[in-house]
Amino acid sequence: MRLSELLHSRVVDAAGNDVGRVHDVRLVQDGPLVGTFGAAFRVEGLIVGPAIAGARLGYRRSGMTGPFLLAAPLRRLHRRVKFVPWDRVAELGRDTISISGSADDLDEPEPLPTA
């Protein structure tokens, strides 16, 4: 599987409700050891939400504070973005990902620090 097969896929919950599209894939470095890199990254979950302009500008990061005129509306839009833990992924379709349970149970993704 490729990362690009997950990105932009539509996500629906168990009742068929639309959750949004995959904006990004969160990785955590706690996988098996690989070569000189150390622990491999594994998929922790999906960042899912409605189509938002500027979804890849980094305004989900905790250190992104400006410029205010851009940051304020983008932060407000990103409140509708949800985090889907990988263990809730029930089925990977060609363009649609089904998750278990309800979309209402999903939390917002934890903001990551700026790199």
Binding site: M1, L3, S4, P32, V34, G35, T36, A40, G58, A115
Partner: protein
């Protein structure tokens, strides 16, 4: 954020990143700092055993073979077609960099090996030798 027990029993925060934001389209530099392509996609592999559980990032995919899938639509199909026609292999795939040779992920992605030791430049080399090199005057390019 979950914590693991690290050296001397102290809790250690696990490193997290969003793949699209922090890895895709980043410049790749080899051991000697030479430009070695961009991160165009990632290979995700189910864990060993019964294959259930979260996939693991096993390789960086780079070059037109990887980019074509990301572009999708007619542009992606065209790029994949051109790549497969020009590539020396019968079944060309994207250039694959095992994650085990990745040294660092920052503003760029640093590798612990030389560019020439990877399959990255096979498509470039073939295009240089068979197409660019046959254009009159192409052999006189300055080093």
């Amino acid at each position: 954020m979950s914590e693991h027990v690290g050296w001397a029993g102290r809790p250690r925060r696990l490193r997290r990143l969003d793949a699209g934001l922090s890895l895709l389209d980043r410049q790749i530099l080899d051991r000697d700092g030479r430009l070695s392509g961009k991160v165009d996609d990632l290979e995700l592999t189910p864990p060993e055993g019964d294959g259930s559980g979260p996939p693991v990032v096993t390789a960086i995919l780079s070059g037109p073979g990887a980019l074509a899938r990301r572009l999708r639509g007619s542009v992606g199909a065209w790029l994949e077609s051109v790549h497969s026609r020009l590539h020396p292999s019968a079944e060309p795939g994207p250039a694959r960099i095992p994650f085990g040779v990745v040294k660092e992920i920052a503003a760029t992605v640093g590798l612990s090996v030389r560019k020439d030791d990877l399959e990255l430049s096979r498509f470039e080399d073939w295009t240089r030798d068979h197409i660019i090199g046959r254009i009159p005057g192409a052999r006189h390019a300055p080093e």
